[in-house]
């Protein structure tokens, strides 16, 4: 029975023993606060399912799924928008070439998401809501999440024909001026700028908080800082475009950034 309990009832406890950590004294307290799944939780799950079914049926009765004319490769929709959850990426097409906006950014996002549990070595704040114990992780993740939402909202609600910016109250028949004064940094400036951004971005946090660097170790530190610098590069590039009409930060014969 003892072994059974260790393995199945408290795998977390077993884990702690394996890692040689102290047993959490709150464990015994928590035991008393347990609830039965049957019927308490199952009832809640059932009611949620019923409520959702009702919501879906009412929604389906009130709003029809869109069905336009039959697909015609000869007549393009303007604007032709991706499904809403990809509109954020489509919005990035304004600021980045397709290989970055459509391929590199989503791939990097997915890879970074997968790596999160392996690079976040802060043991605190597991299994509960806290801000003070995990400021660094929470701030950066939430900014990323928010950026994704904002890009979707802009792309979905504020983009009209030729992907121009239209406020919701503006008519799409008004013709917007296409940006024609875009320019790119010359390769030397661009390369210097990128090297400064990524170089200083990598070095300064480690110097400011040696503790952070020491805890992470070189590999984790590099991955964490690189991910974060890549993430903030997106709004920086958007800012450069909107404020200074900069199209590319770096122009090379093979690709442009």
């Amino acid at each position: 029975m003892g072994e059974y309990q260790d393995r199945y009832e408290f795998p977390d406890l077993k884990f702690n023993i394996q890692r040689g950590k102290k047993r959490d004294f709150r464990m015994e307290k928590r035991e008393k606060k347990d609830m039965f799944v049957w019927p308490d939780l199952v009832v809640m799950e059932f009611l949620t399912a019923v409520a959702l079914t009702i919501i879906l049926i009412v929604w389906a009765l009130l709003v029809n799924a869109p069905l336009l004319e039959v697909a015609n490769p000869g007549i393009s929709e303007n604007p032709s928008k991706a499904p809403w959850y990809f509109v954020g990426l489509q919005e990035l097409l304004v600021y980045f070439d397709p290989w970055i906006a459509g391929v590199m950014i989503p791939s990097i996002i997915i890879i970074c998401l997968i790596m999160i549990p392996y690079v976040d070595i802060n043991p605190r704040g597991s299994g509960r809501y806290t801000f003070s114990l995990r400021k660094f992780a929470l701030i950066n993740f939430n900014i990323g999440f928010l950026m994704w939402l904002v890009l979707i909202l802009i792309g979905y609600f504020l983009r009209g024909p030729d992907w121009q910016l239209y406020w919701p109250w503006e008519s799409w028949t008004v013709v917007k001026k296409v940006e024609d004064n875009l320019w790119s940094l010359d390769p030397v400036t661009g390369l210097t700028g990128l090297a400064l951004y990524f170089g200083l971005g990598m070095i300064i946090p480690g110097l400011v908080s040696r503790e952070f660097y020491r805890k992470c170790g070189p590999a984790r530190y590099t991955i964490v800082m690189l991910s974060i610098l890549l993430m903030y590069f997106v709004p920086i590039k958007i800012f450069l475009r909107l404020a200074f009409n900069i199209r590319y930060v770096l122009v090379t014969p093979w690709f442009n950034i």
Partner: protein
């Protein structure tokens, strides 16, 4: 009355009844546990959970809702398959047929569509909740990875399903996506360092041609109704199993 009662008793004592229901239903601690342990559908739960895990304000219920929406998608999707043919000549006609002729066809399609949109939203909220509660931390690292894969599969399910109505919205939305794919470095013909031309790049592989046509429709259909849902179902199984094995519902460790 008494005869009725004794009949009910006899049914409950019969071999057939007892072969199906292994325990009686009096409200005892033991039966509450058995109710979960002896039921294949319920036994993904533990018999008891910490009381905070039953609070909506802690879990937001988003993982469970996402799973429920997946089941809704499977059921409505199977029903839609009875009326839909993934062939250019018929696909759009079948959509019209569903809309105007099939009894409740329009509701069926609407539910499938809206539940899919909702599922994307709930899965993102679920990820946010798991992050905010730090529930990816050891020993739950790998389940977070499984979850990210489920997120990607859900996006792909929505993306492949988007083409199937074969209307202008579908065609041009998928065109936007396919145009991005051809810009993939190395394996896309318009990407940097392209090693391939447009007849053997990754876009050709996905579409089964150089443009969206009959092959693309069929490929998206097979991915949408077989490959991706099966993969998702397997990963959902792993995801749930690992919750139990990696320390149960998230709580301070």
């Amino acid at each position: 009355m008494s005869r009725k009662k004794s009949l009910w008793k006899r049914i409950r004592r019969s071999q057939v009844w007892r072969s199906i229901f292994r325990h009686d239903y009096t409200d005892t601690r033991k039966n509450r546990i058995l109710q979960i342990r002896s039921n294949i559908f319920l036994h993904i739960h533990p018999a008891r959970i910490p009381s905070h895990a039953g609070k909506i304000r802690f879990t937001w219920c988003m993982g469970g809702i996402t799973f429920f929406l997946f089941i809704v998608e499977v059921i409505t999707g199977i029903l839609l398959m009875f009326y839909y043919r993934p062939v250019i000549e018929y696909a759009y006609q079948d959509m019209k047929y569903l809309r105007f002729d099939v009894p409740f066809g329009i509701i069926l399609r609407n539910i499938h569509r809206w539940a899919a949109h909702l599922m994307i939203a709930t899965i993102m909220l679920h990820m946010l909740r798991v992050f905010l509660t730090g529930s990816y931390k050891p020993p739950r690292e790998f389940n977070w990875v499984v979850g990210v894969n489920l997120l990607v599969i859900t996006f792909l399910l929505s993306f492949t399903g988007y083409l199937l109505p074969w209307d202008q919205l579908a065609y041009w939305a998928i065109t936007v996506g396919a145009n991005m794919i051809r810009a993939t470095p190395f394996i896309g013909h318009e990407g940097p360092f392209a090693l391939v031309d447009k007849y053997n790049d990754i876009r050709f592989m996905l579409l089964g041609g150089t443009e969206i046509g009959a092959n693309a429709l069929l490929r998206f259909y097979v991915l949408h109704v077989i490959v991706l849902p099966l993969t998702a179902a397997v990963l959902v199984g792993v995801h749930f199993w690992r919750i139990r094995k990696d320390g149960g519902i998230s709580r301070p460790l």
